[in-house]
């Protein structure tokens, strides 16, 4: 894309270091483009830089993106590429992920934005240093086979009327379900206790209920993200794994290590319109 008009795509902020060059060399981001640090020439050592790629302007214009964000295949590929870059660096340094599709007309514009945000980025990076995000999800497992109505659970006992058998089976099924949700409540309490002990911060994400969530895994009833200091990570993971051990109706899953996506926020700008709330104000 030598002469093609290109835009600057920013993945994340991180502090450049010589050891990261090798990581970047093998890395391909969105559009399969190479990834590089972008920093002002006069940057002080230890100052955050942007991780960027150059992407074709015609495919990343506002109009093009508007259409492409509706294309799940494109979106998946792009999201995975964005994530891949961040994840590759996360294994080696503290990375502050930016929202997907942060684009500038050119490197100069990106640098201007970087200069403006630098103190806030540096502060946030320092806070997140030596911490890693883990996801903790709890699922109420699918009914493991409580006999439903119609199942012959009356074997060996006196025959009952079909209506009575049906109602009894329904009741058993209902109780089994109630019990699984009660277990989920216990699991949630334990997870909160584990998080309180090991995690520096916890945020609660909406439970995943859509078609993309793994329906076979059961119903997602808890979806937390925990920011855990690296020297606590092993203990944290062990503790979370213990949570569901005696709760057959619940499955507890740890995801990660993630870059601190869920904790990558900047303090509210001094402007009166600012808000620290990630969801932000709605019109």
């Amino acid at each position: 894309m030598n002469d093609e008009p290109a835009l600057t795509y920013v993945y994340a902020a991180a502090v450049p270091a010589p050891r990261l060059d090798a990581v970047l060399r093998g890395l391909h981001g969105v559009e399969d483009a190479p990834v590089a640090f972008l920093a002002p020439h006069d940057a002080a050592p230890g100052a955050p830089a942007f991780l960027t790629s150059r992407v074709p302007a015609d495919r990343w214009s506002e109009e093009a993106l508007r259409a492409r964000f509706e294309d799940l295949d494109w979106l998946e590929g792009t999201a995975r590429a964005h994530h891949r870059v961040i994840e590759a660096l996360t294994a080696h340094t503290t990375v502050l992920p930016l929202r997907m599709a942060t684009l500038y007309r050119d490197d100069d514009r990106a640098l201007a934005a970087l200069r403006e945000q630098r103190p806030a980025l540096a502060e946030r990076l320092a806070l997140l240093a030596h911490h890693t995000e883990y996801g903790v999800k709890a699922y109420v497992t699918p009914d493991p086979g409580t006999p439903g109505p119609g199942a012959d659970d009356a074997a060996g006992t006196a025959p009952r009327s079909p209506g009575k058998a049906y109602l009894q089976a329904r009741r058993a099924q209902h109780h089994a379900r109630e019990d699984r949700y009660r277990q989920a409540g216990v699991a949630a309490e334990r997870i909160a206790a584990v998080a309180a002990r090991y995690a520096a911060h916890v945020v609660r994400h909406p439970v995943q209920t859509g078609p993309l969530s793994d329906g076979g895994a059961g119903e997602n009833v808890l979806n937390d993200a925990c920011l855990v200091a690296d020297d606590q990570a092993d203990a944290f993971r062990v503790a979370v794994r213990e949570v569901g051990r005696d709760l057959p109706g619940v499955r507890v899953e740890v995801t990660g290590p993630w870059a601190p996506y869920s904790f990558a926020t900047l303090p509210a700008p001094p402007a009166p319109t600012g808000t620290a709330d990630p969801p932000g104000p709605r019109p």
Binding site: E70, A79, R80, T209, E219, L266
Partner: protein, 160 residues
């Protein structure tokens, strides 16, 4: 103190191999990745204005794939209710209407469930449990959740 970085690198494949992305890259569910990449992370105004709000507007369909409307609403993501083109009050779209009804229903169910073993559990759940056509919903729960969620089918009949 041990080197946390080394610990973190432990389970990862050796760095630098072309396909040697950390395992979670491939195993992380798309829902998890989209949740983070689209919804989290630093928001800095770019030149191309596909900013936070735009993404939210454009990806309503996608968001429903991850967290259904009622859950999004629980998060405070309810902007579509103020958007004339999306609001059922203006469009009269039956699907939107259904969404609204389902949201109310789920809210009621959640109260019932998160009331963590309500004192009169049987009583509150009893009405709809006795409804015969609730059977399929009850036994199919979770098993084919993927499809069911796609249709945003009510899990149970609304209690009258």
């Amino acid at each position: 103190m041990t080197d946390p970085l080394a610990e973190r690198l432990g389970p990862l494949p050796s760095r630098g191999t072309p396909m040697g992305y950390p395992p979670s890259s491939s195993s992380a569910s798309l829902a998890d990745i989209l949740e983070r990449v689209l919804d989290k992370g630093i928001v800095i105004a770019g030149d191309i204005r596909i900013n936070l709000l735009d993404i939210e507007l454009l990806t309503i369909k996608l968001r429903i794939l991850i967290a259904s409307v009622d859950k999004a609403k629980e998060m405070g993501i309810d902007w579509w209710e103020h958007d004339p083109s999306l609001s059922s009050r203006h469009s009269g779209d039956p699907l939107q209407e259904e969404n609204r009804r389902l949201r109310a229903e789920v809210e009621a169910l959640r109260r019932e469930r998160l009331g963590a073993a309500p004192p009169e559990g049987d009583e509150s759940a009893g009405d709809d449990e006795s409804a015969g056509d609730d059977e399929s919903a009850g036994s199919a729960r979770g098993g084919d959740g993927r499809e069911r969620a796609a249709e945003r089918t009510p899990r149970r009949r609304p209690a009258p």
